[in-house]
């Protein structure tokens, strides 16, 4: 009888585990990593310059997959979701901020009197210390940003890292919480880094 029961269990349980594995291993869990908070804009202390940042359509549509917990993966759109972090950091310092699709968009650069162009490159990673839940408990973002003038001459390069962490009790209604905290951290650190560079004032 025991052998029969075990055979039944094996017959149904093993294929269902295998099917679940095959279905779910083919796709990553989607999360959103848009920032929770970004630096505030104080109209009275802005630098009276018009600046631009470059995010191409290809970057905006770039889907990235990194590690979650329990051997699972998570996916998100870093450029699309971090655009607010980058833009709000710039807007907390400069009077006018515009988005560009390319550094060679001469018409947009001239129309907006752009004097500085920021070209961000993002890399991300995530981990989880949980074997039982998939949302990441730690999230890391590295930003490398070339800053050029309106003729393409390099002014400086900025490098900033943002980190965020979240526990299960916090992320059960917001699976990307660690990532969103990392995005907020990145925005604050980018603002601080820009203020350190005299060439950007």
């Amino acid at each position: 009888m025991i052998t029969f029961t075990r055979s039944i269990q094996k017959a149904f349980f093993t294929p269902s585990i295998l099917i679940a594995y095959l279905v779910l291993s083919a796709c990553a869990h989607p999360i959103n990593i848009a920032p929770l908070d970004t630096p505030l804009r104080n109209e009275s202390s802005l630098i009276k310059k018009s600046v631009a940042y470059v995010i191409t359509d290809e970057d905006r549509n770039k889907l990235v997959t990194t590690d979650g917990g329990g051997g699972d993966k998570v996916s998100y759109y870093p450029y699309r979701e971090l655009e607010k972090s980058i833009r709000d950091s710039l807007r907390s310092i400069y009077q006018n901020v515009t988005s560009l699709r390319s550094t060679s968009d001469i018409k947009a650069i001239q129309d907006n009197n752009v004097t500085l162009i920021f070209s961000p490159e993002l890399s991300t990673s995530s981990v989880s210390n949980s074997m039982l839940t998939w949302p990441p408990t730690q999230f890391f973002i590295n930003l490398s940003c070339n800053v050029t003038d309106n003729e393409g001459k390099v002014i400086t390069q900025l490098r900033v890292s943002g980190n965020g962490s979240a526990e299960f009790s916090e992320f059960k209604s917001d699976f990307g919480l660690a990532g969103r905290r990392a995005s907020s951290d990145l925005a604050t650190k980018l603002q601080q880094e820009m203020l350190k560079h005299s060439a950007l004032q």
Binding site: C27, A34, G70, D72, T98, R101, T133, W134
Partner: protein
Amino acid sequence: MHFFYKPLSLALTVVTLSGCATLVAPTYSPSYETLDQLKKTNVQHLSIGSVQPTDPNAKANHITLRGSSLNSPSGTFAKYLENALISDLTEMGFYDATSLTRIDATILKNDIDVSGLSTGSGIMEVNLKLTKSGSVFFEKPYTATTQFESSFAGAVAIPKGQIEYPNLVRALLQKIYTDPAFVEAIKK
């Protein structure tokens, strides 16, 4: 090792997400290119009047993703839309809370559907009104729909539906901001 604990993780996730979980819609993020285009136009300062329905129990303030509730971080989806409008107008330099020219909106439809096995969809419909000193001078309904890749698995489909909400609101507001009739109506 990976093979053995993955099913456990997935099983727990499915249990967590399949019936009683409460999810929060991510923060709204606009189409900045659209805002950058519109801010070049010489536009009147605008205030936001009321965005309806304010009743948290109204149908437009309820979204369910395979049994899990999707909630607004602002309390209601009407407030979510109101905050998105204020944020966009502020970004473009057009917002003035005391302006007599104001935008009012009523959400007529608001839903994310992840019941499909491979495709999900979103729909949002609003009736938008512009008034000056209380008199309506522009009124138009706007509808936005979105489609996204979904999954048979709830552990993928439910978070897909969750992260779609800001995209749906972005699509709706982008439609409004690029409508020549709306732009003409708000010009100085």
